[in-house]
């Protein structure tokens, strides 16, 4: 495997609020290679967005990336970079697109202006040149009549179109990493598929590393090469998409997968796993998943399970005591039915 493009080690992002410390991301590590697609999956509130924003250092106070966290792009340590250096990384080497296309574009500036802006900032492009490139980008993401649509405002675009424009904006400077934070969640099913195809095609074409975040296993299965599953601010399982979907090892992944009727189809809400994520202000002791886990026993309540550093790993005591994997989700479901 080639040298990683992006390496995140022990990322911890805490919000030091008046009501207490919110440990939104609590020790996340992963790598991303060039041309690779990493899927990040987990229920909403598990810290996916905060992790992505941390990579770009876009966390506002009271949030803070804690010391000892390391984010490196190729050989550069981004946690130690100055704000000025970070600016030249954002939108240039690492780009990000967001969940809400309706609100992520500035309503009072034209689409063209917002795309060209990145080019003018990072490439010092002249207005005419930036505009030409912006039109080119719009064509690339499949927007018809790009020349004309450059001068339109976001409210004249549909949701899917806006997300395409966001992608155009993110890719304008040829970034080596694109972070897509639930880019299809807010869209209709048919549009979702189009955007997904577009991203997959562009990634192949441009050869960038793609981090694709979703709470939807079905979508992750379609697009990702490797997957990490997040729960309560931590990675609970990692592996290639085939491994993970073929034979999940962590009870949480198992539960998620069970909740997906068939891979590739849009699924019902993830909260079909009974219970809900605990408050990030006070994670449960021991394994953070134990209150919802069908296999949990005393050890899970007391000791924190480790996540081995291998490519295929699961943060679970079942790894050491596989014999305890009995009953599980089916029994739980039966119990619920009655």
């Amino acid at each position: 495997m080639s040298a990683p493009l992006l390496r995140v080690e022990n990322l911890r992002t805490y919000f030091h609020t008046a009501e207490g410390v919110v440990r939104a991301v609590d020790g996340v590590s992963f790598t991303l290679g060039p041309g690779e697609t990493l899927g990040i999956v987990g229920e909403s509130g598990c810290g996916k967005t905060v992790a992505c924003l941390s990579i770009l250092r876009l966390i506002d106070p009271p949030g803070r990336i804690e010391p000892d966290s390391r984010i490196s792009l190729r050989d550069r340590d981004l946690t130690a970079a100055s704000e000025g250096e970070m600016r030249s990384v954002r939108g240039n080497e690492i780009s990000m697109i967001f969940q809400e296309p309706m609100t992520s574009l500035n309503p009072v500036w034209t689409i063209g202006d917002q795309i060209a802006e990145a080019l003018r900032t990072h490439r010092s492009a002249r207005p005419a040149e930036a505009r030409r490139r912006a039109a080119e980008m719009l064509r690339l993401v499949g927007i018809p009549n790009p020349e004309q649509r450059l001068d339109e405002y976001p409210h004249q675009f549909s949701g899917g179109m806006r997300q395409r424009a966001m992608i155009a904006m993110a890719l304008a400077c040829d970034p080596s990493v694109l972070i897509a934070d639930e880019p299809t969640t807010a869209l209709d099913v048919t549009i979702q598929a189009e955007i997904l195809d577009l991203l997959a095609r562009l990634q192949e074409q441009l050869g960038m590393g793609l981090i694709f975040v979703s709470h939807d296993l079905g979508i992750i299965a379609q697009i990702a090469d490797r997957v990490i599953v997040m729960y309560a601010g931590q990675v609970v399982e990692s592996g290639t998409a085939d491994e993970l979907f073929g034979r999940p090892r962590h009870p949480y992944s198992e539960g998620l997968l069970r909740a997906t009727p068939r891979v590739g189809r849009r699924m019902r809400r993830l909260s079909v796993i009974p219970g809900s994520v605990a408050s990030p202000k006070r994670w449960p002791p021991g394994c953070r998943f134990h209150p919802r886990c069908p296999y949990a026993w005393s050890r899970c309540r007391e000791d924190v399970p480790p996540l081995p550093g291998e490519a295929r790993a699961s943060r679970c005591w079942l790894e050491e005591e596989p014999a305890r994997r009995t009953g599980g989700w089916d029994e739980l479901a039966l119990a619920e039915d009655h």
Binding site: L53, L56, L58, M86, R87, S88, V89, R90, G91, N92, S95, M96, F98, E100, T103, S104, L105, N106, P107, V108, W109, E117, A118, T121, H122, Y153, H155, Q156, M166, M169
Partner: protein, 330 residues
């Protein structure tokens, strides 16, 4: 855009008609016969009788109303009782002076208010923010006429007694120009006028500036939380561009509506400030007219004030449409 402006213009017509009617009602609601308000030492009974006939005050009320409407719509605001000349020509002299004063204040209000609001939002919760919030509270609780008097006391009468006080910071206490204005050169005249504008425009504007700052701060804080600001940051734009380009234009939208709201407030203040600074504008006119019981002039001036507010609201609406593309294309 044009259609939008035309629509707004058409909507303003009934409002103007209503205002004319309201003035008519106020006149007729006054105690006694409507002609009683024209009883004035300088007007002889015969003239009043003449007026009665001319204006048809002995006719039924609806006829009177129609006549009233016609005369206002044709721009005939009547004759001043004390100055014996058409009110239109009096107001034609005074309106520009009021516009100069209010215009200067308005620029001051929005320039200072917006700048301070931005600084406060960007430095939210800092000592500077708290200090400015507190000062604003005191400033917009000040009566403008009292502030005017205090400014006169300090900057026209007391400060120059200090040896080190620069002469340029001593301002005239009243009027629009100095006595030797006519002898000055072109630039000298402009300087003189500006010099006379300083104290009244501060007295008139500073309270509203404090309140604009307050709205701007909250509007800016609201905008800074929006997703598109995060997008702008994720693009790698410098913070200054994020604030001054992406946040500012959005934060200004609600502030523009304030423009229309502040104008009536500003004109109210102008009445008092013009009185304090002997500024020959409409405010001064209406106060003098009241003390001289020149009612036709009072009515006409307040009508013109209302018309100016309506026009200002129109301008604010149009400005809003210019800034917000979502309205422009509706």
């Amino acid at each position: 855009m044009t259609a939008y402006i035309v629509r707004r213009l058409i909507q303003a017509i009934p409002l103007l008609l209503g205002i004319v009617t309201l003035v008519f009602v106020i006149v007729h609601a006054a105690p006694g016969d409507p002609t009683a308000m024209y009883v004035h030492p300088s007007v002889s009974p015969e003239v009043i009788e003449q007026m009665r006939e001319n204006w048809g005050l002995d006719r039924p009320i609806h006829i009177q109303y129609l006549r009233w409407l016609r005369s206002f719509l044709t721009g005939d605001l009547g004759v001043s009782l004390t100055q014996n000349r058409p009110i239109v020509s009096i107001l034609a002299e005074r309106i520009p002076n009021t516009l100069i004063l209010s215009g200067t204040s308005l620029v001051l209000i929005f320039a200072i208010g917006i700048a301070i609001g931005i600084v406060q939002a960007v430095r939210q919760h800092s000592t500077l923010d708290h200090t400015l919030t507190l000062s604003a509270l005191f400033i917009y609780s000040m009566p403008s006429f009292w502030l005017g008097l205090m400014l006169i006391l300090v900057f026209a009468h007391k400060a120059h007694l200090l040896d080190w006080w620069p002469a340029a910071l001593t301002f005239p206490a009243s009027g629009m120009t100095s006595v030797d204005y006519d002898l000055m050169s072109g630039w000298g005249k402009l300087g003189d006028r500006l010099h006379h504008l300083v104290l009244p425009s501060i007295a008139l504007g500073v309270a509203s500036a404090a309140s604009v700052a307050r709205y701007m701060r909250s509007s800016m804080l609201e905008v800074i939380r929006q997703d598109y600001i995060r997008t702008a940051r994720a693009k790698g734009l410098p913070e200054r561009t994020v604030i001054l380009k992406h946040a500012l234009k959005n934060a200004l939208l609600p502030i523009i509506t304030l423009l229309g709201l502040y104008l009536p407030f500003l004109f109210s203040g102008a009445v008092l400030v013009e009185y304090v600074f002997a500024w020959p504008g409409m405010g001064r006119t209406i106060v003098d007219a009241i003390s001289q019981r020149d009612y036709p002039l009072v009515m006409a001036t307040s009508f013109i004030f209302a018309v100016m507010v309506v026009i200002a609201n129109l301008i604010a609406d149009i400005l809003y449409a210019v800034v917000d593309p979502r309205i422009r294309y509706e």
